[in-house]
Amino acid sequence: MLRRALQHRSFLLGVILVGLMVAAALISLIWTPYAPERMRVGPPFAGPSWAHWLGTDSFGRDTFSRVIVGAQNSIMVGVVAVGIGLIVGVPLGIAAAAYRGWWDEVLGRMVDLTFAFPAILTAVMITALMGPGAVNSILAIGIFNIAVFARVSRGAALQVYGREFPRAALALGRGRSDIAIRHILPNIASALIVQATIQFAIAILAEAALSYLGFGTQPPHPSWGKMLLDAQSMMWIDWTQAIYPGVAIALAVLGLNLLGDGLRDLLDPRLRVFRVG
């Protein structure tokens, strides 16, 4: 397995890119060249230099410090939004596969209904109601993830329930929840891991979009989407500031997608990844 992983070039690239993002976030927890929210640490719109590796923005804030702190924000959004989807969606999906009947029907309709609202629309509506902010945008993305994980785990669990060992376990007197945890969950884990990686990437894109629209992380805390919005309005004076946050988002998403595709190849090449945005 390890040898196959080391030979899988796109998987390795995914690991490196995701590793860089995580490293940037961890380092920024204990050290940044300048306080990311402090204004006038240098002249406004300064170009890249030894003092400011990626230059400064219109308020004279250090862009490199803001980009690496932005990684914290994206990772937190991804972890929590995917966590909500996994914790709520997976039990719902497995229960639908186990009980079938009306429960399955109701869940199917609810999932269809969630997908009737494209992710960005749901997120915009929820943040519109609950007010802008990082927590609300994470919740909005998480709600969409519940539907995704419910559907994926239902499909995968149905296949496992069709095999003989869950029936044998039932015949031996094991309870349904015991079977779900001991037999179903380990067998659908690869599908969930691969899907979680893809949803993580989608969560980063969605949070960046919401922050760009002004509904996500609020200033002065740095987020890649908001940095792009600020940079766009000043693009006529300094275009370079519109590059760095975008590159950071694209590399993070590319890394996660490559990691997801690589994991699918390594864990189970027959898996179908569910992509919906």
Partner: protein
């Protein structure tokens, strides 16, 4: 076939109704007092009461919901608080930007993706294939709004061949379409990247079929086999995805209209949220959802017409 479509249509109606109920509950019942929410907590009780009466909030929620749905059926969407204009009129105006934008993006995406996907499949595991797959990975990873900003940077700021904003259709068809070129390109990138990948796998799958080998064996050239046999059959799954992408492009217009300052439905929705104009928000959201569900229904109907299997499912 007809009963399949009738069932799907009933599901469509049910989904739109459920969506409208959720939107109504979320926007008008859960917040408690939409009038107070709209005016802010500093507003005096008198003003709030007057607003409540104007908004019809003194009536029971069930009556308001039924009234709203009855209005929707007769295309009466009520009146916007901010614009003091019928919401139907506002939405119709804005759709003249959003629908052409989404259509143009769909055309751009399809015209880029299908040839690229076919080229990749025909050159499987060679440099061309890797090139297309790399484009696909990057296209999915680049956020469409950042790509839009880059396009503005290059074509509006640096080379100054395009302007941002929308001059309106009154300025002529060419001016209107020209203003939509960059936004449509920004919107299309991600979808083109996904569609290229799907086209590649659909074409590869079709290329493995016996009839393709037979066609080659009877002396048809690679090009003839590709266009006459492979592409035609691969188009069935591809057209399904193209249909579904239209719905995603409509949703994507919410952010792209903001990037390019286009007066479309997405921009209207974002402005309405900023102004807490619930009359506009609830109608725009339900319209977006209805469009998405309707496009999915059309795709299902098209798929059922081409392929017999879904009818038995």
């Amino acid at each position: 076939m007809l009963s399949f479509l009738a069932r799907r249509f009933l599901t469509l109606v049910g989904t739109v109704l459920a969506a409208s109920l959720i939107v109504f509950l979320v926007l008008e019942v859960v917040p408690g007092d939409p009038a107070l929410l709209q005016l802010g907590i500093e507003a005096s009780q008198e003003v709030v009461d007057q607003r409540r009466a104007e908004m019809g909030l003194d009536r029971p929620a069930v009556v308001r919901y039924v009234d709203w749905i009855a209005g929707l059926l007769t295309l009466d969407f009520g009146s916007s608080f901010t614009y003091e204009t019928p919401v139907g009129q506002l939405i119709a105006q804005r759709l003249t930007v959003t629908l052409p934008l989404a259509c143009m993006a769909l055309v751009v995406s399809t015209l880029i993706a299908i040839p690229l996907g076919m080229f990749a499949a025909a050159n499987r595991n060679r440099a061309g294939d890797y090139g297309v797959m790399t484009f696909s990975q990057i296209g999915v990873a680049v956020p469409n709004f950042w790509f839009g900003i880059l396009l503005i940077l290059l074509f509006a700021v640096h080379w100054q061949v395009f302007d941002t904003g929308f001059p309106g259709w009154d300025e002529g068809l060419f001016a209107g379409l020209k203003a939509l070129v960059l936004p449509a390109a920004a919107l299309a990138l991600g979808e083109a990247a996904i569609l290229a990948r799907i086209t590649r796998s659909a074409v590869l799958e079709t290329m493995r079929e016996d009839y393709v080998r037979t066609a080659r064996a009877k002396g048809l050239s690679r090009w003839q086999v590709m266009t006459r046999h492979v592409l035609r059959n691969a188009l069935i799954p591809i057209s399904t995805i193209v249909g579904l992408q239209f719905a995603l492009l409509l949703a994507g217009s919410i952010i792209i209209e903001e990037v390019f300052q286009l007066p479309g439905l997405g921009k209207l929705l974002i402005q309405a949220i900023g102004q807490r104009d619930f009359q506009v928000i609830k109608n725009a959201v339900v319209l977006f959802a209805a469009l998405v569900v309707f496009v999915n229904f059309l795709v299902d109907a098209l798929y059922a017409a081409i392929d017999p299997r879904p009818k038995q499912a």
